[in-house]
């Protein structure tokens, strides 16, 4: 080793041997070790696999325990119908949670907008179609209000939506006078409000339009999230907002659009809920916020943002529906249904944490 500078063609002297060294570092090959690590990797790349497996296993298990009445086409379509409203809310919630936010106001927006539609169409004589459009626009406005506080005033989503939850809830009590709008009044004045309550028979199954709407909402949002630049930006923001900013995404604008869209989907759920419930009740779906979060979490969407497929929330909602129905048909007390859902949430989050620890 001498200190005199050599005419080094490439790199420092100590680096000369690099040319002979193995070149693997620069390639993107990777080695898997144990079976568990391999599973971890598969789940990491396909976060929806867990809820799908859970759904299939619980269907089989309840089919065995509760027998034919559980597995009948009628019961399965009933589960679909029962989860449809919470399912649509869960779709809205997924959008927010993928951006690493949370929305505690989804159910309040939904019920508020169903009250707005009902008041306008049933009491004010506004044509149903226009009342519905106003309600849907109101949903966008309510969502955008959340988005404005979060992006412009820089408030945390949890606090913002905790506040607007109360605000929207108070508004809906005021607008409704804490009174329900009866089903008969809707039927005579504005039957179109109940559009999504209509159903048709298919084999032994009874398919309601609200269930079809739910599936449609998931398919459209899945497309937007996975096949458009907007969707990639939503994921990038949830993943690492600062990085998204630096790589040229207009993060505030995108976030605002996410909250506005979520509000729209909530209002859509509000319209569908009128048909599903048959009346407009200010007291309905009070736990809808938490139910929607439950479906999202069980669906393998990370509460830390940027990870998981929106389809997971659909499976999450279905898992909750299957558990409720299966346990009820097996003659299990309601309290154990609640107990089981609680465990599902904790296990789902634990699995998410484990998947996120995937080693490079």
């Amino acid at each position: 080793m001498s200190d005199t500078p050599q005419p080094a063609p490439k790199g420092q002297e100590f680096e000369q041997t690099l040319d002979q060294s193995d070149t693997k570092v620069a390639s993107f090959e990777r080695k898997h070790h144990t079976l568990l690590e391999r599973i971890q990797h598969v789940l990491h790349n396909n976060p929806t696999l867990v809820p799908v497996i859970v759904l299939v296993i619980s269907l089989i298990a309840f089919g065995l325990i509760a027998g034919g009445k559980f597995f009948s086409a009628f019961n399965l379509s009933l589960i679909l119908q029962q989860v449809s409203i919470i399912g649509i809310l869960a779709a809205a919630q997924s959008l927010i949670i993928i951006t690493a936010g949370i929305d505690l106001s989804v159910a309040a927006i939904m019920v508020l907008m169903s009250v707005v539609m009902g008041n306008l169409a049933v009491f004010a004589g506004v044509p149903s179609g226009i009342a519905i459009l106003i309600g849907l626009a109101g949903g966008v406005g309510a969502g955008a209000m959340n988005g404005w506080f979060i992006t412009k005033v820089k408030l945390p989503p949890f606090i913002t939506t905790l506040g607007t939850w109360s605000i929207f809830y108070a508004l809906l009590l005021w607008l409704s006078g804490a009174q329900s709008i009866r089903g008969q009044d809707i039927d005579t004045e504005a039957p179109f409000l109940k559009f999504f309550g209509a159903s048709f028979n298919l084999g032994g199954a009874r398919i309601t339009l609200s269930a079809i709407l739910m599936i449609l909402v998931f398919v459209v949002l899945w497309y937007m999230l996975n096949k458009t630049a907007w969707g990639r930006h939503v994921y990038a923001i949830g993943d690492d907002k600062e990085a998204a900013d630096l790589s040229g995404i207009r993060t505030d604008r995108t976030l605002l659009s996410v909250y506005g869209l979520a509000g729209f989907v909530c209002a859509l759920a509000g319209w569908a809920s009128i048909g599903r419930v048959g009346s407009i009740s200010p007291q309905s779906f009070y736990e809808g916020n938490l139910d929607s979060i439950t479906a999202v979490v069980i669906g393998g969407i990370s509460l830390f943002g940027g990870r998981g497929s929106i389809m997971g929330a659909l499976f999450g909602a279905l898992i909750v529906g299957v558990f409720r129905s299966g346990l009820r048909l097996s003659g299990v007390d309601v309290l154990w249904q609640v107990f089981a859902i609680g465990w599902l949430i904790i296990i789902a989050v634990a699995i998410d944490q484990w998947i996120r620890r995937v080693s490079a």
Binding site: E15, A26, S27, H44, R232, D239, D240
Partner: protein
């Protein structure tokens, strides 16, 4: 004399009571690799961020190719062909390599599917990303859909550099690109820098690593206490001279590098 690619005069940036940049000048010339060195906290990151719109300076003037420019965001700089490899890389870990390369400038499908349904042309983006990485000798081809978080530090750095190299038409800024890398990975990045320069794209390289700086830089900008102290030609000075200037142990030369 040719017009500098970037010329900044009297830039000031304050963060509360801290003056990160204190009336600093800056100059990048066509086709060169300009190294920026200085102690921790000297304001190296701050001055390059001011040049590319990532922060907005409080005072001063920036000329790009002779024209005065005021960027309000890095997006505007990027639209002019200025690319930045940030110290923290600015990649989205859960997204794929291809997604990361195209963040903010995705390609849509031709025809109505792209126009009305805004459908992305994923195959086109993946092919482009694969080509770019292959061109830079960075990959074996089958894994362009792999999430960035499953890559090693050097591979991530490679993705960030490839992204910058693929889209830059004016110049590239690299903030400590080898700081977190091993010997072999650093070498790869230095080769990339020389590769990019050979295509005529000037580079601003912030680095602490004197051997790396002296190997690739055409000129060295020494930053001290928030401003440019001097510029030197690496052929005229030793590494210890440079360190002495940057720490204040030695007076800077009266004449800047020509």
């Amino acid at each position: 004399m040719t017009t500098p690619v970037v010329q900044a005069r009297g830039i000031v940036k304050r963060y509360g009571h801290v003056t990160a940049i204190d009336h600093s000048d800056f100059e990048l010339r066509p086709g060169e690799v300009l190294a920026v060195i200085g102690d921790n906290g000297a304001g190296k990151s701050s001055i390059v961020k001011a040049i590319c719109g990532a922060t907005i300076p409080d005072e001063g003037e920036i000329l790009i190719e002779g024209k005065p420019i005021k960027f309000n965001s890095p997006i505007e700089a990027r639209e002019m062909g200025i690319e930045i490899v940030y110290q923290n890389l600015a990649l989205s870990p859960a997204l794929s390599i291809a997604d990361n390369m195209f963040t903010g400038r995705e390609i849509r499908k031709e025809g109505w599917m792209g126009k009305y349904l805004r459908l992305l042309d994923k195959p086109a983006m993946e092919d482009f990303a694969r080509d770019k990485l292959t061109e830079l000798g960075l990959m074996t081809v089958q894994s362009i859909k792999q999430p960035v978080e499953t890559l090693s530090g050097g591979q991530r750095q490679g993705v960030a550099v490839a992204r910058a190299a693929a889209f830059a038409s004016k110049f590239i800024i690299m903030d400590e690109p080898t700081a977190a890398l091993g010997v072999k990975e650093s070498r790869k990045v230095l080769e990339l820098i020389q590769d990019v320069r050979s295509r005529g794209i000037p580079i601003i390289l912030i680095s602490h690593n004197m051997p790396h700086v002296f190997e690739v830089a055409d000129r060295i900008h020494i930053h001290r206490l928030g401003k440019r102290l001097c510029t030197i030609d690496p052929k005229d000075y030793t590494m210890s001279d440079a360190v002495a200037f940057m720490t204040g142990a030695k007076e800077p030369p009266a004449q800047d590098a020509g």
